[in-house]
C-alpha cells in the first residue's frame, strides 16, 4: 500500500517557507539552463530554417565560408553559362547568379564596432529567391546604381541603417532606399548591386555563385562534375547544408555552456533539495513512526518521500519555465566566430527547451530526494515513535 499523495502535498504546504526557498533555488538553476538553450535554439533556427534545399551554393574548392571563397568574374560567368542543371526562367536563361560578399566594419547604435555582411547581387538572385525577399519599407535598389537595401534586423541596432541614411563604402556613399525581410540570415545583411559594390569596395572578384536547381537534378552528380572541371573547379552544396555548417562551432559552445552550468548549478540545487528533505524528515520522524506502526512498508515510505522531492523539483522546474518564457522573442546579436560576422536573432523558448528544463528539474528532485528518502525508510517504528 502506498502513502496517499495528499500527505506529501499537505506537508509541502505546511513547511511552505522552506519549500518555496527550495523551489526558487531549483527554478533559478533550471531557468539559467533553459535561457542558454533558448539562445542556442534561436541562433540555430535562423540558419537551419532559412536554407533552401533546391538552391545550390558554389564555393572555391577548399573554402568553407563564402567570405574565404573567391571567384574571378570570368570564372563565375563561365560557371553560370555552362550550368545545364539549373532551372530556367521564361526566357530560357539559367536561374543562376554571381554574388559578392564581405563583412564590413559598422558601428552599433549601442556603441562598439561590429562586422556586418554586405552582399552584392545580380537580378538573378531575386529571380532565384522569388517571394522569399520581401521589401517591408521603401523600395528595392535600382541595378547599376549605388543604392542599397538593409535587412530588417539591422535597423535599430546598427548605425545608418534607416531608409534615407547613407552608408559609406570606402570612399563611395551609398543611399539606403529600402528595408527587406527574409526571415533568415539575410535579415542581418546589407544588399546592393554586385558590380557597384565590387567597384565601391575595390574588390577584384565575386565570392560565390548560386543557382536554383532544375527538378530531378542530382546535387552529387553536379558536385562531382564541377570538382573535376578544368576551368572553374568549384565546391557545390545545398544552401541548407551550407548554412547549417556555419553554426556548428557556436552551437557546440552554447550546448557545452548549458551543460557545464547545468552540472555546476545542479549540484548546488541538489544539495539544497537534500537539505530541505532532510529537515522535512527530521521534523516528521514521529509521523513516520506512526505510518510504519500502522502497517506501511518501508518501500512505501521511501516512495512517498521520493515523490515529495520530485514534486519539489517539478514545481521548481515549472517556476523556472515561467521565468524563462518572458525572454522568448527578445532580440539580441552575437558574433558567429566561424564567420566573424554579427548575426541578430531572437531567443526561442521552444517546446524542446521547456521539456529539457522540466526533465532536468525532475532529475534534480530525484537525486536530491534519494538520500533523505532512504534515511526515512530505514527508520524502525519504535525508534521513530520515541523521537520528536
Amino acid at each position: 500500500m502506498l502513502v496517499p499523495l495528499s500527505y506529501n502535498l499537505r506537508s509541502l504546504f505546511v513547511r511552505r517557507s522552506a519549500s518555496l526557498l527550495t523551489i526558487f533555488g531549483i527554478a533559478a538553476t533550471v531557468a539559467t539552463v533553459a535561457g542558454v538553450l533558448a539562445l542556442q535554439q534561436g541562433f540555430a533556427s535562423i540558419y537551419a530554417e532559412s536554407g533552401r534545399e533546391d538552391v545550390a551554393v558554389f564555393l572555391r574548392p577548399g573554402s568553407t565560408y563564402e567570405g574565404d571563397s573567391v571567384f574571378t568574374r570570368e570564372r563565375g560567368a563561365y560557371l553560370v553559362k555552362g550550368l545545364q542543371e539549373a532551372a530556367v526562367d521564361e526566357e530560357g536563361l539559367p536561374l543562376a547568379g554571381i554574388e559578392c560578399f564581405l563583412a564590413i566594419r559598422r558601428f552599433k547604435l549601442s556603441g562598439g564596432e561590429t562586422n556586418v555582411p554586405i552582399r552584392g547581387v545580380q537580378p538573378a538572385t531575386f529571380a532565384i529567391r522569388g517571394d522569399e525577399i520581401e521589401i517591408v519599407e521603401g523600395r528595392t535598389f535600382t541595378p547599376g546604381t549605388n543604392e542599397v537595401i538593409v535587412g530588417r534586423r539591422l535597423t535599430g541596432r546598427i548605425r545608418d541603417c534607416d531608409v534615407g541614411d547613407v552608408i559609406t563604402l570606402n570612399t563611395t556613399p551609398c543611399q539606403v532606399v529600402g528595408v527587406f525581410e527574409s526571415g533568415g540570415t539575410f535579415d542581418s545583411e546589407i544588399w546592393g548591386d554586385m558590380d557597384s559594390i565590387l567597384t565601391a569596395l575595390n574588390r577584384y572578384g565575386p565570392n560565390r555563385v548560386i543557382a536554383r536547381l532544375a527538378d530531378g537534378v542530382s546535387l552529387e552528380a553536379l558536385a562531382a562534375r564541377l570538382k573535376e572541371d578544368k576551368q572553374a573547379p568549384a565546391k557545390v552544396l545545398t544552401e541548407r547544408a551550407y548554412l547549417s555548417s556555419q553554426t556548428t562551432a557556436l552551437s557546440l559552445v552554447l550546448k557545452f555552456l548549458s551543460g557545464f552550468l547545468g552540472l555546476i548549478m545542479g549540484i548546488a540545487a541538489v544539495f539544497t533539495a537534500t537539505n530541505t528533505m532532510l529537515s522535512a524528515i527530521a521534523a516528521r520522524t514521529h509521523e513516520i513512526g506512526i505510518l510504519l506502526a500502522t502497517g506501511f512498508r518501508p518501500v512505501a515510505i521511501f516512495l512517498s518521500f521520493l515523490f515529495e522531492s520530485l514534486l519539489l523539483g517539478l514545481l521548481g522546474g515549472l517556476v523556472g519555465c515561467l521565468l524563462t518564457l518572458p525572454i522568448n522573442g527578445i532580440e539580441t546579436g552575437t558574433t558567429n566566430f566561424q564567420t566573424f560576422t554579427e548575426i541578430a536573432f531572437a531567443f526561442r523558448v521552444t517546446p524542446s527547451v521547456l521539456m529539457t528544463a522540466v526533465l532536468f528539474s525532475l532529475l534534480l528532485g530525484l537525486v536530491g530526494g534519494m538520500l533523505p528518502a532512504w534515511k526515512a525508510a530505514r527508520l524502525t517504528p519504535t525508534q521513530a515513535l520515541r523521537r520528536g
Binding site: T22, N202, T272, N275
Partner: protein
Amino acid sequence: MGIFGLSLRNLLRHPVRSLLTALSLMVAIFLLCSLRSMVTALTAAATEASTTRLWVQSAVSLYVGMPLSYPTRIEAIDGVKEAFPFQWFGGVYQDPSNFFGQFAVDPEKLLRAYPELVWLEGSPEDFIGTRTGALVGTGLAKTFDWKVGDKIPLSGALFPHPDGVDVAWDFEVVGIYEASKASLDENTFFFHWDYFEKTLEVDRDAPVEVGAIVVSIEPTTSATRVMSEIDALYENGPQRVQTTTESEFQAQFASMFGNVPFFVSVIGGAVLAAIVLACINTMLMAAREQTHDIGIMKSLGFPDTSMFRLLLTQSFLLCGVGGAMGLGLALGSEGGMRELVSSMLPAYRILDETKILAVVLIVVIGLVAGIAPALRSSRLKCIDALSARE
C-alpha cells in the same frame, strides 16, 4: 564556551546539512570566480596593451587588405620608428579544430617592436636567417608538443598554396617564446612575410595585400598626432585606413563578443540568487531547531544581543567556510582552467578584484542568510521559546 564555540557546535549538530550548504556555496563561488575571470580574460589584452605600438587596418573591413606600399609611406611620418605587415594567415594545422593565430611578419622588426617577447629556445638569428622559419609561443609548443627543428605543414585555407589546393605550406620551428605581458599571446605562430609574399606572387588573380600594419612609434611622440596623420594619408583612397592604439585594437575584438559579458552577469545573478536562497533555508531550519535552546539561554540571563550574535555568527561561519573552499577551488584550478580555455581565452587569470568581489559576496550572503533568524531569535520571548518543541 564562547559564542564562536557554541556556533560551531550548533552547526555540527547537523553535519550533513551544514556540509551540503557549505558545498553548494563552494560550487557557487567557484562558478562566479571562473565566469568572471573568463570575462576579464576577454579584455585582458586590451588593458595590458603597449602604448608605443599602433595598428593600421582598412577602415572598410577586417577582411580587406591594404596595398603593399602602405608600410613604407607610413615609416616616413615623423615620430614613427618602423612599420611592418602583420598578416593573418588562417592556415589549418592537421584539423580545423586546432585553431590558433598565424601571422606573416617582418622578423627583425617584430623582435624590435615586441620587447615583451622572451626567447625560451632558439635564437633571433635563426629566426631572421631561416626563410621558412617559424617562431611559436610556448602555449602552442606545449599543446602540439613542438620542438625546435620540427617541420610544421599548414594548409592555407585562406591563402591556398599556388601549387595546388592540397599542397601545404611548409614551416620549420626555429624558436619558442614566452610573453612577459598579456599584450602578447603565447599561442601565436609567427613566420616570414617574405616567404608569404614571394610564394603568393606567382599565379594570383589579385595582388598580395597586407591585412594589418604594426607601427612602432617613439615613446616621446604623440600617438594621437601620428594616428590622425596616417588616417589622413589615405583619406581619399585607394583604401581608407583606421589607425588605433593597441588597446583599442584589442578592444574591438572583445566588443565583437557582443552581449556575452552581459549574459555572463545574468547567469552570475541567477547563481547568486539560488545560493542565497539555499543559505537562508539552512539558517531558518537551524534557528527553528534552536528555539528551545534559546529559551533556556534567555532564562539563564543571556541578553538578546548574545542570541543575535549567536545566529549571525553561525551564518558567517557557514558561509565563510563554504566561500573559502570555493575561492580555494577557483584558485587551485586556475592553471587547469587556463589550459582548458587556452585556445579561446589565453589570458584566463583570477584577478585580485575578482578575489575581493568573492570575499565581499561571501560576507553579504552570510549577512543576508543570518539576519532574519538572528533578529527572530533576539526578539523571542523566553516563555514562547521554551514552550516550542524541537
